[in-house]
Amino acid sequence: MKNKSSTTRRSVLKATVAAMAVPWIVPAHVLGGRGGVAPSDRIVLGGIGIRNRGTKVLNTMLPQPDVQFVAIADVRADQRQAVKQLADQQNGDTACKMYRDFRELLARDDIDAVLIATGDRWHAPMSMYAAEAGKDVYSEKPCAISIELAQRLAETVKRTGCVFQCGTQRRSISNFIHAIKLAQNGKLGKLQTLHASIYQLEDRYDWLPAEPEPPQEVVDWDMWLGPAPWRPFNQAYVDGKWRGFHDFDSGAKLLDWGAHTLDLCQQAAGADGSTPVEYEPLDVTGDNVIECRYQNGIKLRLRKNGWLGLGTCPVRFEGDEGWVETGDSGRMMVSLDSLRAELPEPTIAGTTPSTHTRNFLDCVKTRARTACNEDVMRKSHIACHAAAIAWRLGRKLTFDPVKEEFVGDDQANRMRSRAMRAPWNI
């Protein structure tokens, strides 16, 4: 059994306290389980599609004294088994249930919240199924593979009243938070250009050669495809090599980093409720530079190269008086000594979701809004997709952030949505 005294939990939470501006912490035993059916003082959690990244996220949730992980759903038998083993080890029992079909997991009334870490194609539909089933949702990013799904996911969260956290953890990590503060409170002067890192864009439409389908109990290929259009089985997809394929990926891979980095720029620009209005793919060989512009003139530059050595997923905010750049190493570079004077010390690596998952768990209890809630996700994902569409079309696009549609470009508007394969209907 886990030690559930609030003192222990608080010491676990110390990292949160250090990293977050003003954390809200509810003592573990204060709130009864949601709906009154859960063991009295814990969040009962299930996981869907948990492999590499999912395990990293799960590993920050499992040791939390107010979390009880009870079920895993995965289309792969080996992964179901691996996650069960992890959970059972933590819980000291053999109670973690395994499901091939995630709908059986969602049908369980005792489960309060789910962690969704499948491939991109499933994130939005599964999140919506979970929300409609009354669960709170932590979904890995990118949360939606199209503009339309980002909209519908946000609407579903609003409609059902669930708590939603998009797995863009850098918003909960101190160096990124500090950089954003510098941009927001004028320490860089008037903001000029925000820079978000992305990597090589790729948009594939070919199919890998057909291979014999394994038995459903080993790999459920139909379930793996899920809402994506049919194509023949190939083990490589299931082993994670689906990135870059249009049917499975988000915005020609732009969202893989962009969902983080562009999102941070949105916050720095004070544009959480909006998006840039212009997207222009620039002719820079191999660098995939896409230059975007907000209504107020602030520029947002997506680019692959030319970063200081501060780790993966770097961002850079430039004002007319100074700049700051930071990345996953936690280290920050600033242009002015006056900015140095307030630099915080690095806390955790940018890839570590511990403070972000804790923020989610706290919000599950308080019903407060998460750091990367459905509205934040919606706008930054839509901005990413708009940039990717501009890159795919090879032309400058104008976008209306309120109507969430391109202005005067029918083709671009038609790239906002894809059909969902039946019977998936959400």
Binding site: P23, D206, R367, A368, A419
Partner: protein, 804 residues
């Protein structure tokens, strides 16, 4: 146009207008501009592989029109392609797609039918409601639910009766799912401003037997439709018996809009709630940010269970003003640890100036906990004024106080106090406090002006004892900048092994690329051995990881290879070349291809670079003209020719050219490719490039082939002073087309045996095979300006590759 769009255009230009063209297989990004739908429709109607049809659908989704609808509809019964077809149909503008989808319903079943119902919902035409309504009574539950969701998605007022009827007539799981569909409808109605309809539909949902969670969602939706008027219902939910209602109220209160007195009313009912609900409501009040609730919540800090008091402190951190300072500081000095932590955190966060003085005063307390908390607060708030007292506290008899005071010194020290911290570290070199001082110094350095900080640290380096010395070096690397770099580089060549060790180590982690020249210099000056190897690896790392131009990276690679004596470092260079692929990198990688132990890796890198940059189209060419002098050339009349702006020029626009002039190469050439650029100006122009040509002794003319230029003869092959006729060339009305008049143009002459080809601006103008075996296939090259014209001819970028 962007580079990528350009590539696509080129590709499109190459493919043939047959329906089975290979473009549909490719990994080509969609959409393809200028693609006509007719050929795509033919793909759909053909027996081509499914992957091609899928790709045709994807292209039609972006660019197809009504004409494509019949071919797409035909795929709706194909289990594997129907989703692809629907993606296109969902996006094709106009009514034809809706009509086709509606009429397709009758002939479809199973998932294919479900899919079409889904698409009709997505297109949101109220004309589709009647078609969909027929399925509400379907035996097949999935079909019924899909139809209800689609109608809900359409969400007009006409949709409401259908949704309500289906919902109230159903039971069990079907009713649950129909309840979700009704919620979709309510949300759509709200979006369209039909609040009355939306609210009424929510009420209907609440009255059915759907599970509680659906009813709660409906209650929440109903509140959202009402603005301020919803507050009464919201407050009722706060006091409802069931936990679900209370939680939904917490959720809804944070998402409702408009100014209200909700906070005040919640605060006034706070006392009547159970402690668990009080805590959660306090969290809500903090989020809502209305300071008027403070008088109601402050008294709770002294009564009630510990968790409640902690919650009060937390809400003070967001809502509090200066009147809360005594309460917070008292809690910070209490004996209850959770309360202390919350109060310290709140005291740090609160944006109230008076807190600074209060915290400094608290440093003088005689209560250990109060002192410890005050230290955390002055550290967290970075109160510089506290330095003096912290300096005293670091000598305190209580160990935790000593350690935390040192930590806090690092947090508050200003630039002019840095030397004191350095002195403290040296003083504590052998003390148990050393690690604490080290950390404090690190925190302080992070905030200091870069070069001043580096100078202070460097100054201390000479006299510091060894442990401190190494720590200072690490600090310098952390600080960065030119002063720090200079100091660390000097340390790396010092006689002291520990210094050398630390300095070379930190250089390998240097953060900015401007260190490259110094590190290279160091690598060159160090004798062979582990430190030189380490520095060299650090040098290569800069090219691999840090921000540089491509030229700078390649320079690092070349320099590193010149110094490297082991394959380990050469492999690192290859890795740089693999990451940053360019033509120069290709040459560097090729220079390693025959090195023992590197061949395999080098070849794979070469292959990878070639995939990106292709073969060098200029490989093997040597210049015929150096851009400055006429070295390698001779007259005719050498004085006729001049070199201007990197080009060879002959003639001007004032004086008539008296006679044909030829500038001749000294050397002879047989089989070759010659590339050059020309620019002709003048009202009437005539010039050309002689090749495989002979001089005529004592005459200004030459004899042989001429790649002709000028009015009427662009791109033709003429036989000058020999057969005196046009040997080959485009038809008369085609000749001028490739030329950019008055500008620089590319000219390319390829001679292989009897085969002669000429390109003007990459358009082939001549493909000639010499039939006469008596004609010489070797000779000089010469640039011509024709006589009797007022014109100027310029030639530049002349380069030749000899074949054989």
């Amino acid at each position: 146009m962007t580079a990528r769009a350009l590539t696509i255009t080129v590709v499109v230009a190459l493919f043939l207008p047959v329906p089975c063209d290979g473009i549909l297989f490719a990994q080509q990004t969609l959409p393809l501009p200028g693609r006509d739908s007719q050929s795509l429709i033919q793909v759909l109607e053909s027996d081509r592989p499914k992957v091609e049809k899928a790709k045709a659908c994807q292209q039609l989704a972006i660019a197809g029109d009504a004409a494509a609808v019949p071919a797409l509809v035909a795929l709706l019964s194909d289990d594997q392609l129907s989703t692809h077809a629907r993606s296109a149909l969902e996006n094709i503008p106009g009514d034809s797609a809706d009509q086709a989808l509606r009429s397709a319903c009758g002939s479809l079943e199973g998932n294919n039918l479900l899919g079409v119902i889904l698409s009709l919902g997505k297109r949101q035409r109220s004309e589709s409601i009647m078609t969909l309504a027929k399925y509400l009574d379907s035996e097949d539950q999935a079909v019924c639910i899909a139809a209800a969701r689609a109608i809900g998605q359409i969400g007009t007022t006409e949709a409401v009766p259908w949704v309500e009827r289906a919902l109230t007539g159903a039971t069990g799981e079907r009713q649950l799912e129909l309840g979700k569909a009704a919620l979709i409808c309510a949300q759509r109605l709200t979006e369209q401003g039909e609040n009355k309809y939306a609210r009424s539909l929510c009420q209907t949902i609440i009255k059915t037997d759907v599970p509680e969670k659906i009813k709660l969602s409906a209650a929440y939706q109903a509140i959202l439709t009402q603005g301020e008027d919803g507050d009464a219902e919201l407050l009722k939910m706060f006091t409802a018996d069931d936990q679900g209602s209370f939680e939904m109220a917490l959720y809804a209160a944070r998402r409702r809009r408009g100014e209200t007195s909700l906070s005040i009313e919640l605060a006034s009912m706070l006392k009547s709630l159970k402690p668990e609900r009080q805590i959660l409501t306090l969290a809500l009040l903090a989020d809502l940010g209305d300071q008027r609730v403070l008088p109601s919540i402050l008294p709770l800090v002294t009564t009630g269970p510990l968790d409640l008091r902690v919650a009060v402190i937390h809400s003070i951190s967001k809502l509090g003003d200066r009147t809360c300072i005594p309460v917070l500081l008292q809690a910070a000095g209490s004996s209850e640890q959770p309360l202390v932590e919350a109060a310290v955190e709140a005291a740090i966060c609160m944006d109230v100036d008076q807190m600074d003085d209060a915290a400094i005063k608290m440093l003088n307390s005689d209560n250990t906990q109060s002192i410890l908390s005050a230290i955390e607060i002055v550290a967290g708030r970075k109160i510089e004024k506290a330095t003096k007292q912290l300096g005293q506290l670091r000598e305190n008899s209580n160990e935790p106080i000593r350690k935390r005071a040192v930590y806090a010194l690092g947090q508050v020290a200003s630039a002019d106090q840095l030397d004191q911290l350095v002195a403290l570290m040296i003083e504590k070199n052998d003390d148990e406090l050393f690690p604490d001082v080290q950390l404090a110094l690190k925190s302080a350095c992070l905030r200091m002006p870069q070069d001043d900080c580096a100078r202070t640290l460097s100054a201390a380096l000479e006299t510091a004892p060894e442990k401190s010395k190494i720590s200072l070096l690490e600090q310098l690397a952390f600080v960065g900048g030119p002063v720090a770099l200079q100091t660390v580089v000097s340390a790396a060549i010092s006689k002291d092994d520990a210094m050398q060790d630390a300095a070379t180590r930190v250089l390998g982690e240097w953060l900015t690329a401007d260190a490259a020249p110094n590190i290279l210099e160091l690598a060159r000056s160090l004798p062979g051995g582990k430190y030189r190897t380490r520095v060299l690896r650090g040098y290569i790392r800069i090219a691999r990881q840090l921000s540089m131009t491509m030229d700078e990276r390649m320079e690092v690679c070349r320099n590193a290879l010149a110094l490297a004596d082991r394959n380990e470092e050469r492999l690192l260079v290859l890795d740089v070349l693999r990451r940053y692929r360019c033509r120069e990198g290709l040459l560097i990688a090729e220079s390693l291809a025959n090195e023992k132990g590197l061949t395999g890796r080098a070849k794979s890198v070469i292959q990878r670079i070639k995939e990106d940059v292709g073969e060098d189209p200029e490989a093997g060419f040597v210049p015929l003209f150096d851009g400055r002098t006429l070295a390698g050339w001779k007259g005719g009349d050498l004085n006729f020719w001049r070199v201007e702006e990197g080009a060879i020029a002959g003639g001007d626009l004032v004086n008539k050219v008296k006679q044909n002039e030829f500038l001749r190469t000294i050397r002879q050439y047989s089989d070759f490719e010659l590339r050059l650029q020309f620019k002709l100006t003048g009202d009437k122009t005539n010039a050309g490039v002689q090749f495989r040509t002979a001089e005529i002794p004592g005459d200004h003319e030459v004899s042989g082939y001429q790649a002709d230029l000028g009015e009427g003869w662009w791109g033709c092959l003429y036989d000058e002073s020999r057969r005196r006729k046009m040997l080959a060339g485009p038809s008369a009305d085609e000749r001028e087309k490739p030329v950019r008049m008055g500008q620089w143009n590319d000219y390319r002459i390829l001679c292989e045996g009897k085969h002669i080809q000429i390109w003007l601006n990459e358009i082939k103008t001549v493909d000639y095979t010499e039939p006469d075996p008596g004609i010489s296939q070797t000779g000089i090259i010469a640039l011509q300006v024709h006589g009797n014209l007022t014109m100027e001819a310029r030639y530049r970028n002349l380069r030749i590759k000899e074949l054989r």
